[in-house]
Symmetry: C3
Subunit: 342 residues, 3 copies
């Protein structure tokens, strides 16, 4: 992966000052960048580093006046930080979508329809009656069950397992080892103490712009669908049980688990290792602190909750603050008892 | 997958009323079912929906008298809800076991013995000296190490990894990405601060009718066996450490972890995100609340415990109730102090 | 896998007493060992079992005097327990490294350099520009992305997924389903409530002697590297976020999660299901109790912390002890109130 300094200057609407023939192959901070890297100077506090940087090029602001002689090429732009972000995003996009074509062997079931600019890695498996859009990248060891639908521009990394009839939207990213559409955990207790499996015949729907972290698991619905709405981002090792719905643009950090048939609102922020009980609704724009245990519905939009069991954050914090000083409280009671009861 | 309405009526011992030539390809609720679907009417509250349902057929009770004209075919049975459940279970069984044959390429090591009606998906790997019963379905990307034994009618979904010498019973279901038989986490601390690995040479035994959730991990014993007894059901992302034993018909929800050498009783219900310390025994028929941290043995059959650390539920609930109102308690103590100490 | 009794005696510097022609194929305790097994007698308490053991050979101390006639062959050594451990470790090493050669089909990208004594299992995938040392064992379904480097004597079990540019040292063991180098969970909130992905362009570095458990996930850094230092041992289902650093010889039990940019000290012991907040530092030689929630930096070397939120163990334990007896405390306050306020 290489870019010429001219391509970069063009992308950023910047002016080159210095050698305009160099090639850039990596990015880094001023302190750590080496030859072939591009860096940026935004905060004047770091100006000292530009005079000794190993970077081949540095993005600076249009009005930057070097105090010493520079060895590096400059690209002058309006906002160096923003320009560097644009460059990162562009680099990321190119890297992510550069793979194309079919590696052999890989499996394609009958009646499956595949779009253009597809990558199908070696040992990937696509079942029967599958529909896949354009510019989809299916890495090695991905399993796509029968009758699955996948939209455009979706990245599916190595080892992802997608069960039958799952529906995945456009612009999704699913990281290695994630499992989408496994059976919901539903059993009917029998009189002899054994359990009888309740058939899990629904599916999972991921809407557009959904990201799923590594080794996260999303169970399919008993009937109908487990639904992950547009723009939802799930971190690694998250558990989403059957018939759950997660509202638009909600983000959920690692190792959180959501029990069956619960509906999470939109634009919520759920921290790591949270557990949420089944069959409840949570309002939009809620924030849930790490390791919380949510045992009941919350209806107030924008509420922040914390604790196990979770309650409103101000109350929760007060209780935790006292908890830490419980020995003091006991001592105060003991003193009162000494005075009164003896 | 299609069924004729006559096959369904025969299975349910029902009577067809209307078009007996139709084919059924899916199931759904009265409100959402479309052409080719079958639905059911059990609760009279939903009767209104039968008059406008898109379902091609509806299972109703023998004495159902429509108040309006119906467009859909009826199947009259004694108990519509039960009949629908039977139909779901039958459909699920057929779907789950329909795959048969060997997809190419897949790997089969020497001296391995495979039963009849087997499915071996593309890119599945079966090592040496493996014994597999009849009607076993091994999905793509499954890895079965050397000297593994698998009973009859067991389903192993895509990407399951089974280490050497694991023994799996009949009628088990193992969901995608589960790992059975990885090394126990055992290290001997050395004087220089490093750790030396303790060899993990045992195995894992899953008895009959065991279900394992997606991305769950079960470590093999140091010597001898980690044992998951008959009828145990584990949800997704559960961790079972080396030398653990889980008693018959115990169910464990997602993200729970059981530390090494602990023995769980039979017919227990363990909720999600529970942690259980190593080297303890828990009694039969216990219930353990979500996010509990079990730090010691419990010997009382049928006990319900909660909290981290976990104790008997009545005590635990009282403490949590007061916890939430700790600021009030502090205020009460402050008032007493005002009165007494000033 | 078979050893002659003479090979074993030679390895342990022991003397054979009895049949020196037998072959050993397994190991076990005196009570459970069967023909072809070797066992050991160290604690005199178990001497009774040697007279009826099914083991073909037993390791005993040089001065052991049987009280009855023995059917089993003896190997006399200085320290039977130590000798048995040595035998286990040797057996484990041989078993672990015995696989060699290339199973077909497997994938090897262009410009990749592979050392000697390599095992590459069927359906394993190695990308472009990869460098792999000697005696590395890559099991079926392993995915190694482009430009990855792997040192000598490293074991990578079935289904491990390694993203581009990850660097793995010597003598590492990575268990099935682990994901190394997935995208960090970084998003910039936009004004319309959606999130924009922050490109994750760094990598993950595992130093020498690092063990990674089954289905554990380690995210790559945004820029630069997530670093797991020499001798670190991670259990199953652990989550390590982007830009984390874990110091030498730290061991972390199952289902613990470490948030982004946190630096863990060396020689720490972190129990299971711990959550650690992002952007903090923890001192060396710390111990963190199970299910703790670490919300702030701890600078004191060797500190033991516990609780959620976690604080120093003595304080934490006092608070938890009182927590359990909160109903008593409330009752004491009530009595005081009765006396004073009424």
């Amino acid at each position: 992966m290489q870019f010429s300094i001219r391509e970069i200057a063009h992308l950023l609407n910047g002016e080159i000052e210095g050698n305009d023939e160099i090639m850039i192959k990596d990015m880094g901070t001023l302190e750590r960048a080496t030859e072939g890297c591009i860096s940026f100077l935004s905060n004047p506090k770091y100006e000292q580093y530009i005079y000794k940087t190993g970077a081949s090029a540095v993005i600076v602001s249009r009005d930057f006046k070097p105090a010493e002689k520079l060895k590096t090429t400059l690209i002058r732009v309006d906002d160096p930080y923003l320009s560097f972000s644009i460059l990162l995003a562009e680099y990321d996009r190119i890297i992510s979508f550069q793979k194309e074509g079919v590696e052999d062997p890989c499996w394609l079931g009958e009646n499956s329809i595949i779009g253009e600019k597809i990558y199908r890695g070696a040992f990937s498996y696509i079942g029967k009656n599958v529909t896949i859009g354009n510019n989809v990248k299916i890495y090695p060891h991905v399993y796509v069950g029968d009758s699955v639908t996948i939209g455009d521009n979706t990245l599916i990394y190595s080892g992802v397992k997608i069960y039958d009839r799952v529906v995945i939207g456009n612009n999704c990213q699913i990281h290695a080892g994630a499992v989408i559409g496994s059976d919901g955990f539903g059993y009917a207790p029998q009189k002899d103490g054994t359990y009888k499996k309740i058939p899990q015949l629904g599916n999972v729907i991921l809407k557009d712009n959904v990201d799923i972290g590594a080794n996260t698991t999303i169970d399919r619905a008993t009937l109908e669908s487990t639904v992950i709405r547009e723009g939802v981002k799930l971190d690694n090792l998250v558990q989403v049980a059957h018939n759950v719905e997660i509202g638009e643009n909600t983000v959920i950090a690692a190792q959180t688990g959501i029990s069956g048939s619960t509906a999470i609102g939109k634009n919520c922020i759920i921290a790591g290792q949270v557990g949420i009980v089944g069959h409840i609704s949570l309002a939009d724009k809620m924030t849930i602190g790490a390791q919380s245990g949510v045992t009941k519905a919350f209806e107030k939009e924008g509420a922040t909750i914390l604790g196990s069991p979770a309650f409103e954050i101000a109350t929760s914090r007060k209780s935790y603050a006292i908890f830490r000083k419980l020995p003091d409280l006991v001592e105060r009671v003991r003193k009162l008892e000494d005075k009164i009861l003896k």
